[in-house]
Amino acid sequence: MMVIRPINKSDFADLCHLAKNTGFGVTSLPDNPNLLQTKIDKAEKAFAKKVDAPHAKYLFVLEDTDTSKVVGVCGIEAQVGLEDVWYNYRISTTVNASIELGVHNQTPTLYLTNDLTGCTEVCSLFLQSNYRKNSNGLLLSKSRFLFLADFPEMFSEKVFAEMRGYSDEQGQSPFWESLGKKFFTMEFSRADYLTGVEGKSFIAELMPKYPIYLPFLSEEAQKVVGHVHADTEPARAMLETEGFNFNGFIDIFDGGPAIEAFVNNIRVVRESFKRHAQVVKNPKVVTGGDSSLYLVSNRLFSDFRVALVPGASIRQDTIDIPVELAEQLKVCSGDVLRAVSLREMKR
């Protein structure tokens, strides 16, 4: 059985194992045991409400309860940029026009901004490759939106996700080659690693502060602004169906998009409903495929759990929860659950 729950100390070894396999695309999950330990500690404090809500950095894991192994991880930062500084470029339009000369030019221009400061970030998503099936990915990613729906007062009203930007087969980012490299005089992978492990003051020190006119970048770099890495296309598509939009913010290193949504516009949040649990011994036999799956959360903050149930379990006033699942979800009959269909309903 696959269950989402808060990370805890005992997950350290599993997390290290996962981090080894992320590659350098996932800055927030660096392959560095000390940092991972710190992340676990911070998450435990967050779930225990031992930090101020805006500073909380939550990490959830996906556990295969049959093997007791953690096979996936995902995170939420309550509000970014409160301790360090959160940077994005924002693509803006500069128009230069002269009626006298008959010239009217639009020049995309990148402004270094901290505009996402204080927003909630969903981040650190990683799923072990042999578990990338059976809706595990959707369960892992979307479970976070149930957490946002259950505890909106702990988060900003705007949430965003940074998507890994385009890089070629050799791992070269044309955006970095054309911009960041000229100011950082180091390889992308190193700069990317440093943002994960060092503070961000070096960005203030090294990054160009004046606006950048996009035509000064190479054509390859101009092309990939706001584009995601091929591997990230499905994640972007998924978030967009949930209501996320690209609004001009890109990563300062690789030009990848930050896509954003107001929490109450996210489909999972908007369509989710509360219903009482009905613990059952013999659940109705499931027919139909994945498309009728529902996410169900137990609405507990520190003991948060999410799992999938078949659509047939959703009754008029209750949700059927098999005994074994009830134990994993830590719920009894009569507890109020939050549920939502895993995928957008066809209309």
């Binding site: 002269s98 000369l101 020049t107 100011f183 060092e198 090294l206 000064f216």
Partner: protein, 338 residues
């Protein structure tokens, strides 16, 4: 005899011919008749001391063969760079992007738009017939302006600047422009340069990018062209450098060419010029070559001639020279070593 004197309307056709000669591309002299005519008009009024010029006098000198009446070159002085409008330059500066933590210390050159040279006295519109390039008359034409300014300092700014044409190739392609201005003007360098000569500068405010430019983001060719003179302008650069002009931090916003500058009192011609009383003699007199001019504002004349300078206040010049300079016995001439 080759003489430098104020331009007049009767020079219009000759100047136009000069301006449209191929080699004039490196000059700031306008090529259109109406613009040239306006320039001569402004010059005529400026030499006449017309008060309505109000501090934006524009002087245009010509080099004439007084025997044939042929016009062989032009040289201008704008009292006030920009002529009452903003005078645009990029100023080269550098920011150090430094991180102790990462042991990185990068010097990032930056170009800032600036108008700080507006109102300084500008040398401009230098053109000479190709066969006189490389002769002493090139020096005569260019330096006559320094004698003029040295004589009438109170009418000019104490800082003199001069823009040197930047790098471009035979087809007129300009690497600095292609990497910078072109993105915003959407036209080639020649067209933009043309507009710059004939239009008011409003279009620069409208079209030039207003944010500072990071040099490392320009093309390699553009970076290499920053502050570099066009090969055809090198002789003039040499002369100006000898004269005391120095390369500063300002470059042309279109082609990246350097702007030279000097305090008027630091210029060799100004430092070395003397004014003495004329005694007209028959003999050619020998001596060495000097730049010699009369002290007349409206009828300024300047030539190359032989002199023997001594300790007294009197200097001998022969009849021919006196006639060309339009000076008589007991009047005064000013001279500086050629």
């Amino acid at each position: 005899m080759l003489t430098v004197r104020p331009s007049t309307f009767s020079d219009l056709v000759s100047i136009e011919k000069l301006a449209n000669h191929n080699s004039a591309k490196i000059s700031t002299l306008p090529q259109q008749r109406d613009k040239l005519s306006a320039k001569i008009d402004a010059s005529t009024r400026s030499f006449a001391g017309d008060e309505s010029m109000g501090g934006i006098e524009q002087f245009l000198f010509i080099l004439e063969n007084t025997e044939t009446g042929e016009v062989l070159g032009t040289a201008g002085i704008d009292r006030s760079a920009g002529n009452g409008q903003p005078f645009y330059n990029y100023r080269r500066d550098e920011l150090i992007h430094s991180s102790r933590q990462l042991q990185v210390n990068n010097h990032i050159p930056i170009l800032y738009m600036t108008h700080e040279l507006t109102g300084k006295t500008l040398f401009c519109s230098l053109t000479i017939a190709p066969e006189y390039r490389g002769t002493e008359f090139f020096g005569l034409l260019s330096r006559a302006r320094l004698l003029f300014i040295g004589l009438f300092k109170e009418r000019f700014d104490e800082d003199i600047i001069i823009e040197i044409q930047g790098v471009s190739d035979e087809t007129g392609d300009c690497p600095f422009w292609d990497s910078l201005g072109r993105h915003f003007f959407d036209m080639d360098f020649a067209t933009a340069d043309h507009y710059s000569g004939v239009k008011s500068k409003t279009f620069i405010a409208e079209l030039m990018p207003s944010h500072p430019i990071y040099v490392p983001l320009l093309s390699d060719a553009a970076q290499a062209a920053i502050g570099k003179p066009h090969p055809l302008a090198e002789q003039n650069c040499q002369l100006l450098h000898r004269e005391g002009f120095r390369v500063g931090n300002h470059i042309d916003i279109f082609d990246g060419g350097p702007t030279l500058g000097a305090h008027v009192n630091d210029l060799n011609t100004v430092k070395s010029m003397h004014t003495k009383t004329v005694k007209v003699t028959e003999s050619n007199g020998g001596g060495v070559k000097y730049l010699i001019c009369n002290g007349d504002f409206s009828d300024f004349k300047c030539v190359v001639g032989h002199l023997t300078d001594g300790i007294g206040d009197v200097i001998r010049i022969n009849h021919t020279l006196a006639k060309v300079l339009d000076v008589s016995e007991k009047e005064r001439v000013t001279f500086a070593p050629l």
